[in-house]
């Protein structure tokens, strides 16, 4: 190629092919600060420059890669760009063709997090309308956390003490480092595929640096939680650490123990509430019986006033009256009868022969026949004279007839 005359196009093409054939320039990681950021509104391609203290380079990110970004780059943001170097032949400039980009440094990461949070908020992932209610009495509780951490011990001990009826299922995952994301995603898939009807899920890990907790801001994990139909309680890090998982969770707890408390009813409270229910139903039933008893009493009263009972009472009264009249009549007639009897007795007394005999009269019989006339008797007849206290046997010596008779 030496000494030959090239066209501009030929030169640029040559440089391009030289650069593209250099393996060292085809899979690059370049670190720098973004400036002159521009997003082509129609195509969605991103155009910007990266710089450090002394140099800069142009960067292009095509829309196909740009849409996969978890954040929106902006001027001043430090980023780590993955891509390859090539030449834009028209202008004769070499530039970085970015395939992926991640925020670099705490500041940039924070900005990226804010952006992701805004994006997901706008999509409605954190809306209260989507929050699921925790079950009152969970039978199967899924716990996604590290197998070896303190979190699982805390959750198991609190849940077991409060609600020993529950079955706890640990999905052991890495909670930090490179394996964290795939293992947490695995846990959510497994939770759906395993044949256990989970009532609630606890996603937890103990405290750690922001770096340690970073995986819980991962967009894919957040979306996974959002898609899950199992109510989820998050307890990630300390109370001051809030991750996007906490935002998308149906409920957030400050510590693993608090999460266990949130998802389980307390057995002591349950027992007292059962007792309360027993009292309640008893009181309810007795109140109803009391009310009915009162109604019965009331109705009886009214029924009696209008019904046969009253008629019966009236009959009874009438009967009583009649009876009294009858008694009166009877008493009256008895008295009458008595007085008549007394009169008779008096008259009878007058007729009593003994009364006459008491006055000195005696009864004279001859051979059992009362002697009334002198002609019944002849001298020599034995006559019997009956007195009140005995008889006298007499011999007739003389008979004198009254002349008058």
């Amino acid at each position: 190629m030496a000494n030959s005359i090239l066209s501009v196009s030929q030169l640029n093409l040559y440089v391009k092919s030289q650069i593209e054939s250099d393996a060292n320039l085809q899979s690059l990681f370049v670190k720098g600060e973004i400036f002159s950021f521009h997003k082509h509104f129609k195509s969605g391609h991103l155009y910007f420059s990266l710089k450090d203290e002394t140099a800069s380079i142009k960067v292009v990110m095509f829309a196909s890669s740009a849409t996969k970004l978890g954040f929106m780059p902006e001027d001043g943001m430090s980023v780590l760009v993955k891509g390859n170097l090539s030449v834009y032949e028209r202008d004769g400039v070499y530039q970085l063709y970015a395939k992926d980009m991640i925020p670099d440094g705490v500041g940039a990461r924070q900005i990226a997090l804010e952006q992701l949070k805004n994006k997901l908020t706008q999509e409605g992932l954190f809306d209260h309308a989507h929050k699921k209610t925790l079950p009152a009495y969970p039978q199967n509780i899924a716990i996604i956390t590290s197998k070896s951490g303190a979190a699982i011990k805390d959750v198991a001990s609190v849940a077991s003490r409060r609600y020993p009826l529950a079955k706890l299922y640990l999905f052991p995952v890495s909670v930090q480092g490179d394996l964290a994301k795939p293992s947490i995603l695995w846990a959510f898939d497994k939770m759906q595929s395993v044949d256990i009807p989970f009532d609630v899920c606890i996603l937890t890990r103990g405290g750690g640096s922001q770096e340690d907790l970073w995986v819980f801001n991962d967009e894919q994990i957040v979306r996974k939680i959002f898609q899950s139909n199992i109510p989820l309680v998050s307890a990630i890090g300390h109370e001051i650490d809030t991750t996007l998982c906490d935002f998308v969770a149906d409920m957030r707890a400050p510590t693993p123990s608090a999460a266990a408390e949130l998802v389980t009813p307390d057995i002591m409270e349950l027992e007292s509430s059962l007792l309360g229910s027993k009292n309640l139903v008893f009181r309810r039933l007795s109140a109803q019986m009391d009310k009915l008893a009162f109604q019965i009493k009331n109705s009886t009263h009214r029924a009696n006033a209008a019904g046969p009972q009253m008629k019966l009472e009236r009959c009874q009264n009438k009967l009583d009256g009649l009876k009294m009249t009858a008694d009166n009549l009877f008493t009256h007639s008895f008295v009458e009868f008595q007085s008549q009897l007394d009169k008779c007795a008096l008259r009878l007394d007058g007729a009593n022969p003994l009364t006459v005999m008491n006055k000195g009269f005696a009864k004279v019989t001859h051979q059992g026949t009362a002697v009334l006339k002198t002609e019944q008797i002849q001298v020599g007849d034995h006559l019997k004279i009956s007195l009140t206290d005995g008889q006298i046997d007499c011999l007739t010596t003389e008979i004198v007839k009254d002349i008058k008779r």
């Binding site: 009152a136 077991s160 706890l168 695995w186 057995i267 139903v281 109803q288």
Partner: protein, 61 residues
């Protein structure tokens, strides 16, 4: 019936008992049902208290 189902039926039974137009026969029946459910729940709690909640580990086969 699970504990939850029992608690749910209990709530329902109590609600029915609170209906002011319930007949005495129904009320008695509901009362019997409620007491039975309460006793069963209590029994289940007593049983569970004897043993700690079980912890299983779910892993890929």
């Amino acid at each position: 019936m699970t504990f939850e189902e029992k608690m749910k039926s209990l709530e329902l039974v109590i609600k029915e008992m609170e209906n002011p137009s319930i007949s005495l026969e129904d009320s008695l029946e509901k009362y019997t049902q409620a007491v039975k459910l309460i006793d069963q729940c209590q029994q289940q709690l007593d049983q569970a208290k004897q043993e700690a909640a079980k912890l299983y580990v779910v892993e890929d086969n």
